[in-house]
């Protein structure tokens, strides 16, 4: 009777041991799965964070590029500098040198008006053929005051170029003379 009981007890203990081992294996399986799951979630979070960072930067660059395009187009058709002839239509891609000579003064006197048009930007016209004159008609950069003067604080800059003809009516009477130059529009953010 006792032996029978003993055998039963041993059998029961063996079974318990086997079950415990099985449970331990299952537990470690579950832990591994949960660990992998959290690792995947962590990867997801890191990926999303990086993606949103890049996406934000791209959005900012896109906005700056759009502003550069707008500013360049606005400056190409500025009545203050574009070539005109009486009441006739203006000439495309052409700036009048005589107007350009006065533009700097006009722009600096009405800086608030032009700031609404161009915001933080720099507009330069450079002659390439035959001479090499330069006109900076608008220049407004983000600056902050420091001890020794001012310091530029813009982060990004976008340049847009257009090649233009520069009409010079001052030299010869009765004949239009066209030089060649380019318009450079820099916008800052």
């Amino acid at each position: 009777m006792n032996e029978n009981k003993k055998r039963k007890l041993e059998k029961y203990q063996r079974r318990q041991r086997r079950l415990r081992r099985k449970a331990q294996i299952r537990m470690s399986e579950t832990i591994a799965i949960i660990f992998i799951f959290f690792v995947l979630i962590l990867f997801g979070v890191i990926f999303y964070y990086k993606y949103s960072q890049i996406s934000n930067r791209e959005k900012q660059e896109e906005l700056l590029a759009n502003r550069a395009m707008d500013a360049a187009l606005q400056s190409l058709f500025l009545p203050e500098v574009i070539c005109t002839k009486g009441e006739a239509e203006h000439e495309d891609n052409c700036f009048d040198i005589m107007k350009l000579n006065q533009a700097e003064e006009v722009f600096s006197k009405n800086l608030n008006y032009y700031f609404n048009l161009f915001s933080y930007a720099k507009i330069t016209v450079t002659e390439v053929y035959p001479g090499n004159l330069t006109w900076t008609i608008y220049d407004k950069q983000k600056v902050k005051k420091v001890e020794n003067g001012t310091e530029r604080i813009w982060e990004n800059k976008e340049n847009t170029y257009y090649v233009i003809a520069l009409r010079n009516d001052s030299k010869i009477e009765g004949q239009k003379k066209y030089n060649l130059g380019y318009l450079e529009v820099e916008v800052y953010s």
Binding site: E62, A165, I172, Y178
Partner: protein, 219 residues
């Protein structure tokens, strides 16, 4: 035959971890077999879900990697090409030698005067001589034009690291093949890249036929 089937079944049960027993066909063991096969199915589904998720993630990444936001680039390339060719055509040559055959000072325009002159004498000059009406820089017009336009493009577009190709073609009649009278390429070897935009054709009507100018830009 039946014995073979039975032994196969026993093997299957062993494989699934069910101890071979005389009463292997009892309800309990059938239930165990079903439970284990269902578990295997569920694990397969889990695996499939993971594969689908990874594939979706990769597709998502690929979409963002391949997304090219070059609307501004195309716009500025086209605008720049058009403005460049338009300005070059308008430019007048600042050289008193150009007009020695005329009385008084004349500043010939690239588009209106010099290209026409080049087209007019181009075929004669292929045979012999270096005739032209204008003698800018004491050179035949086509040669002078090529040098000047090349210099201008190199100073502007070349300075901004743009690849370009400037082409002038003479079309004498509808039947005749276009004759290429000028081809200027950037220092880096013209436009062989994928991202290419052009100014569009700039036709000039001359006595010799129509001269078509085009400037292509690429990044």
């Amino acid at each position: 035959m039946i014995a073979k089937d039975k032994s196969a079944h026993t093997k299957k049960l062993r494989f699934l971890g069910v101890p071979p027993n005389k009463s292997a066909h009892t309800k309990n063991q059938r239930f165990l077999v079903m439970l284990r096969s269902r578990k295997a199915q569920m694990e397969m589904i889990g695996l499939v879900v993971i594969v689908i998720l990874i594939t979706l993630g990769m597709l998502f990444m690929a979409t963002f990697a391949l997304k090219d936001n070059d609307g501004k680039k195309i716009f500025t390339r086209k605008g720049l090409a058009y403005s460049t060719i338009s300005a070059v055509m308008k430019t007048t040559i600042n050289d008193p030698d150009c007009s020695e055959s005329f009385s008084g000072q004349v500043y010939p325009q690239v588009g209106k005067d010099l290209i026409e002159d080049c087209a007019y004498y181009y075929q004669d000059n292929l045979v012999e001589g270096d005739h032209s009406l204008y003698r800018c820089g004491n050179k035949q017009t086509c040669i002078f034009l090529e040098e000047t336009i090349s210099e201008i493009l190199n100073e502007t577009l070349g300075g901004w690291n743009k690849n370009y190709e400037f082409k002038l073609q003479l079309i004498e009649s509808l039947e005749a093949d276009p004759l290429q009278i000028m081809l200027i390429k950037s220092g880096k070897g013209g436009c062989w890249k994928k991202e290419k935009d052009g100014s569009g054709l700039f036709p000039l009507h001359t006595d010799q036929g129509t001269v078509e100018g085009e400037l292509s830009l690429c990044d």
